[in-house]
């Protein structure tokens, strides 16, 4: 007795696919297989590291961090008897000095060059274009090499013939020394924070006045003198002197020094990253709808007003993610300072490995620090990005 169609309440097991074709089981099985393979590979690698380290008698833990470093770090108070962890701290400090200052200066330069590429002035436009086209296509390593050996070491004069403008600063191939405050940086930092707070307060006040009365705000005219005043008060109150660099034979004492190695890596990084940022800025300005610029012109805004009030704010919204990427690249490119002997983190690690620290834990630590640094930078860029993002209704 056959029926042409099976009734709807036929045995339920007949409608379930067999195990080897069931998608749910296949998905789980595939993932289990992938995880197993990865675990196997990682397990083999870790096992090999252990076996090789045992064979050579090299430790695999992080105890080496307490050993004395046995190498000096130029341009700092680090003594070679201090433990390796202090050396790593110094290296990280050096890296941050390059990265943070480099981000600021390269952004400024990059924005200027990017805007210059769209300038009406033919000379500026062509010069910016040549600058970008040359520097974007040259390896950064060669730029660093060049800035050290062709600029910092040879073009700058020797110490004996150092250039001393106004008797205040000193330019030589042993570094650039400028006057600095005596006795520490803490009062300056506090003064700086107060000054920034004052500037913010003043800008709020002037904006409120402008909104109320319609008179121009002139924030800068009020804020800048106020900041200078606050900083001078901080300087006087803490009784700080100034230290002026002085030269005695080959030695230079006083002031704050930027070593030629720092100059080389800083200069090369800044002009290189600025060329990339310039391209991003140019692209983002051109991506802003032309109608915006035309409307601004129709409202009789001048060229710079059009840029400042209409085009640039919209352009920055587009530009922030790629510029954030360039900041990450800059932080990673700072490791190239090792090539010219700038003691940033990668060089400190490489030298400590050369002096007996175990290779695998040292480099894993270095990678971990850079991952954290990248995460922090991306987080900062994301915060800015979110604040600038368009609120879509």
């Amino acid at each position: 007795m056959t029926e042409p169609t099976a009734p709807a309440d036929a045995a339920p097991s007949a409608s379930r696919p067999p195990l080897w074709r069931d998608v749910r089981i296949l998905r789980v099985a595939f993932q289990v297989a992938v995880v197993a393979v990865i675990a196997l590979v990682l397990g083999t690698l870790v096992g090999n590291v252990r076996a090789n380290s045992e064979r050579l008698g090299i430790p695999t833990g992080f105890e080496y961090l307490d050993n004395p470093a046995q190498f000096p770090i130029p341009d700092s108070d680090f003594r070679q008897a201090q433990p390796v962890r202090d050396a790593i701290g110094e290296g990280l400090g050096n890296t941050l000095r390059v990265v943070l200052l480099g981000i600021v200066v390269s952004t400024v330069l990059g924005v200027l060059v990017g805007i210059g590429r769209l300038s009406g002035n033919w000379l500026v436009r062509t010069a910016a274009r040549i600058y970008v086209e040359i520097l974007r296509n040259v390896p950064l390593l060669l730029l660093i090499y060049f800035s050290y050996f062709a600029l910092a070491l040879t073009t700058f004069p020797r110490v004996a013939d150092a250039w001393e403008p106004l008797g205040l600063a000193l330019f030589s191939n042993r570094g650039v020394v400028v006057p600095w405050v005596d006795g520490g940086i803490a009062p300056l930092v506090i003064g700086g924070v107060v000054a920034i707070g004052a500037a913010v307060g003043i800008s709020r006040w002037r904006t409120a006045v402008a909104d109320r009365t319609g008179a121009p705000a002139h924030t800068a005219r009020y804020a800048l003198p106020a900041m200078v005043l606050v900083l001078s008060v901080a300087w006087l109150v803490s009784g700080l002197g100034a230290s002026i660099p002085e030269r005695d034979g080959n030695r230079v004492t006083g002031g704050i020094r930027m070593s030629p190695e720092y100059f080389a890596i800083f200069f090369a990084l800044v002009i290189y990253t600025a060329s990339h940022i310039a391209e991003i800025v140019r692209g983002s300005i051109q991506a802003v709808d032309r109608g915006q610029g035309e409307a601004a012109s129709a409202l009789a805004l001048s060229g710079s007003q059009r840029l400042r009030y209409v085009v640039l704010p919209q352009a920055f919204r587009i530009a922030v993610p790629p510029i954030g990427n360039q900041y990450l690249n800059l932080s990673k490119n700072s490791t190239l300072g090792a090539v010219v002997g700038y003691f940033e983190l990668a060089r400190v690690t490489a030298i400590s490995v050369g002096n007996g620290a175990p290779a695998v834990p040292s480099y894993l630590l270095l990678l971990a620090i850079f991952l954290v640094l990248s995460l922090v930078l991306s987080f900062g860029v994301n915060v800015v990005n979110r604040r600038l993002a368009l609120v879509e209704r």
């Binding site: 000096p72 090539v339 002997g341």
Partner: protein
């Protein structure tokens, strides 16, 4: 059915990718085994090919692997006058290069069966650790940390050196004290960095700023430009570099006092004591040969004529007596091969170091008041 195929496709692609990764190594090994040509080929075979033999991993493995491969991989350098440089034909010549040949002559019976691997300073010990080289003969100082944490075993020092300081002749520095608080350039990643600071604090002087450079060429550029006032390194290195200085050796002054102990010795990787002994006795053979008065020229004659049983035993020739095999793993005539193919310690020193102007000093035999003392071969 479609999903199965999709899953299978992704799985297959993943396996392919993983296979490609391991395939890299296979391709590379295939590529490497075709490069075991004679090393004297425009220096073409010198940069780190491994000849497919696994080394290290336990007693007896390295010696067997080297003998199987038929070539000794010796880690050295290519730009230190007197110790290891490339001549115009691309051959390695120098004191350390000759000691590589000594070890090859002892182990393989052929002094030219050496593959010279030029290493940067930073790569010296990692190459040993990874098994890229069998022995490191690269004017490397024997220290406690390198014995321990670097996983190396150091052998009979072939050069007892000290660290010195070199300055420009017209800079006005008369002695080490004048450099207090100045700037000193050193070769990075070596013992010299730490020694400068240690020495100055030992003398109670202000520690100078120490600048490490990765290569002697860049160091020389910086020194010439006046970036640093002093150049500190092993005295043997300084002498060699001064002799090749472009402005002439007289434009530089090396201070006579040495301020650290720098015993330069060949090194092998930890974990294979048989290989360490083999290399050790190969080096000791040159010292013992000098003590016996043997040279590459007279060794055949001496062997034919001498009645001294010590010399006959040493050269592995005993006549009616039994030949001595101390069980090191070396052929019984290894000393003969070393002396006849390369030479005694005196010959090697005179050919490479004496032209630089360095006296034997500590590097003489113990009978002449120096430090070279070979244990008896019996």
């Amino acid at each position: 059915m479609r999903r199965l195929r999709g899953a299978a496709a992704i799985l297959a692609a993943g396996v392919l990718v993983l296979g490609a990764c391991t395939g890299d190594d296979d391709d590379d090994d295939a590529g490497d085994t075709t490069t075991t040509e004679a090393p004297a080929d425009d220096g073409g075979g010198d940069t780190g090919t491994d000849t497919g033999g696994g080394t290290g991993g336990g007693d007896g493995d390295t010696l067997a692997a080297v003998q199987d491969a038929g070539v000794l991989r010796c880690g050295t350098r290519d730009e230190l006058p007197g110790f290891a440089v490339l001549d115009s034909a691309g051959e390695h010549v120098g004191f350390d290069a000759d000691f590589c040949r000594v070890i090859a002559a002892a182990v393989l019976g052929d002094a030219e069966a050496v593959e010279f691997v030029d290493l940067e300073t930073a790569d010296r010990f990692t190459a040993l650790q990874a098994g890229d080289i069998d022995v490191l003969v690269r004017n490397t100082t024997w220290t406690a940390t390198r014995d321990g944490a670097e996983g190396a075993t150091f052998l009979q020092p072939n050069f007892y050196d000290g660290q010195g300081m070199m300055v420009a002749a017209d800079a006005g520095f008369g002695s080490l004290e004048d450099l207090a608080g100045q700037v000193v350039c050193v070769a990075g990643g070596t013992t010299t960095e730490g020694n400068v600071a240690t020495e100055f604090s030992r003398r109670g002087l202000e520690i100078p700023e120490v600048l490490p450079f990765d290569s002697p060429d860049l160091l020389q550029v910086a020194f010439q430009e006046g970036r640093c006032d002093g150049w500190s390194s092993d005295l043997s290195q300084l002498t060699g570099l001064r002799s090749a200085y472009p402005d002439g050796p007289d434009s530089l002054v090396i201070f006579p006092d040495a301020f650290s102990k720098e015993p330069l010795a060949p090194a092998v990787a930890d974990g294979d004591s048989q290989w360490a002994q083999v290399v050790n006795w190969a080096v000791l053979a040159t010292i013992q040969a000098e003590e016996f008065g043997l040279t590459s020229e007279n060794v055949d004659q001496v062997l034919a004529e001498t009645t001294d049983p010590n010399i006959r035993q040493f050269l592995g020739e005993a006549g009616e007596d039994a030949v001595l095999d101390p069980g090191l793993g070396l052929p019984t005539d290894f000393a003969y091969q070393v002396v006849s193919q390369v030479g005694s310690y005196a010959e090697i020193y005179d050919e490479h170091i004496t032209p630089l102007g360095l006296e034997r000093g500590l590097n003489s035999l113990w009978t002449d008041g120096g430090m070279l003392y070979a244990p008896p071969y019996r």
